[in-house]
Amino acid sequence: MDVILFLIFAVVAVVCAINVVVQTHPISSAVSLVGVMGSLAVLYLLLGAEFIAAAQVIVYAGAIMVLFVFVIMLLNAGAEAKEGRSLMVRFLGIPALVMLLGLLAYFVQRLFPRGDMVHFGGFTGGSPRDIGMALFTTYLLPFEATSILILIAIVGAIVLARKEMD
């Protein structure tokens, strides 16, 4: 049952991810990205990380992607025209892709030895309490640094937007 669900949602995630790039209309790409986020949440759920799954849906699918869609709608962005592919893309594209996938597969094989396979529902540190403890003790510095980074980005966006207005 777990394996079937995993296969279904893994395939959905990959297909949606490819669709993000293939679609010419920004809204269609955004919808596909929502699909990716949703199926990732299901994969987290299968592993037993309920809190992360819920946070994935609330934050990524529910808040960030809504903002994306909102901005696309606000700017009324139309469909992009497909441009002719350059010579390099036509000849080197597929070999480069195959090489990248091969390298990824090789490193995943090397980094995670066969001994510890992923078990469905085997992840136990996923309760809200565990994650809160980890965030505010072990990873306190990276956590705060990230929030300051986000704050800087927000301030930067406002500065840029004000400059346009003047």
């Binding site: 919808v31 309920e50 849906v57 699918a61 809504v66 709608m73 606000l74």
Partner: protein, 393 residues
Amino acid sequence: MDSFIVISLVKAAIVFAALLTTLAYLQWVERKVLAHIQVRPGPYRVGPHGLLQPVADVIKLLTKEDLVPPYVNKPLYLLAPFLAMTMALLSICVIPFGPVVTVGGVRTAMQLTDLNIGVLFVLAVSSMGVYGVAFAGWASNNKYALLGGLRSSAQMISYELPLSLAIASPLLVSNTLSLSELVGKQAGGIWNWNVFHGPFPQVIAFVIFLIAAFAETNRVPFDLPEAENELVAGFHVEYSSMKFASFFMSEYANMITVSSMATLLFLGGWVAPWPAEYGSRFAPAVIFGAAGMVALYHGIHFARRRDKFSLPVVAAVFFVIAAVFLLPMTQEWLLPLFWFAAKTGGILFLFMWVRGTLPRFRYDQLMGFTWKWLFPAAMLNLLVTGFLVAWWS
């Protein structure tokens, strides 16, 4: 294992049927309440007191022509009502209507599934509901629909923040994310409810939650997405027949969801306002009995000729309901259901009352209100609650 599947299927069927009937009749109740606020009778033609009006409405919507305009973005146009409906109905599956009870020898919880992150599940599902409205507005290829969709997504993103913060503070007090545990910690009486209980009573959070809930469900005074005097009908202007109905139903389903969330988080869910040893077991029977007596009195001293027959029948129905509430074998599961329905119904009535009373906000007022007042207030409330909870324990 098999019995688990069978019980779950039966429960799902019951909950689904009850929810859809409630949805249809909630609309009738709303029209009646609004009508009486405006001193007019409301639906009166189809059935006694317009009681069959929802049935007539459903038949009308089902048999209407289903028109898809030629200029719409078809995939998203068709996806939007489906998405809105699914997300609105999905959250009901974690809402607990009562404790673990024994019905006909089967022991089961009055809840479809008890997730340990139930609160987050409801938040996640409701945050996905924005897409239905946003896509509907965009895919319709109509300026009014687009404006409605834009307003709605901006409003929902903005009000989700105070809503989530207002939910977080009773969670701090109760120290759990499971909805049934949340109710269990509020048992014992009205002074144990999260609104009044704890190191810091959550009255402010409750008010913030209600205001944000009005905005999240696009209700008056925050119904700018469908402001009919500016936007015709807002995001669903290009929808007809069942597609229109699904937007309509999703709005009412969302109302039921937020009302039950308010009940569970702040008002103690299915527990009675005072303990059973002081007679809260008999309260429903007394209420229905009193209603029956009133009907009987007016049947005897009738104002119109037909009241002589109709009101005693109504009185008899009320007496039967009162008697059912006194039976020991039904009390176990009927009492929690009664209190849950009473509290949720009270909040739903508040929704209708506000709709009949308040005018609509202006758009800049709407946004200024949430960012300048509601969000800081919710933040402050969360901070104070957090400090007091940490200091108390």
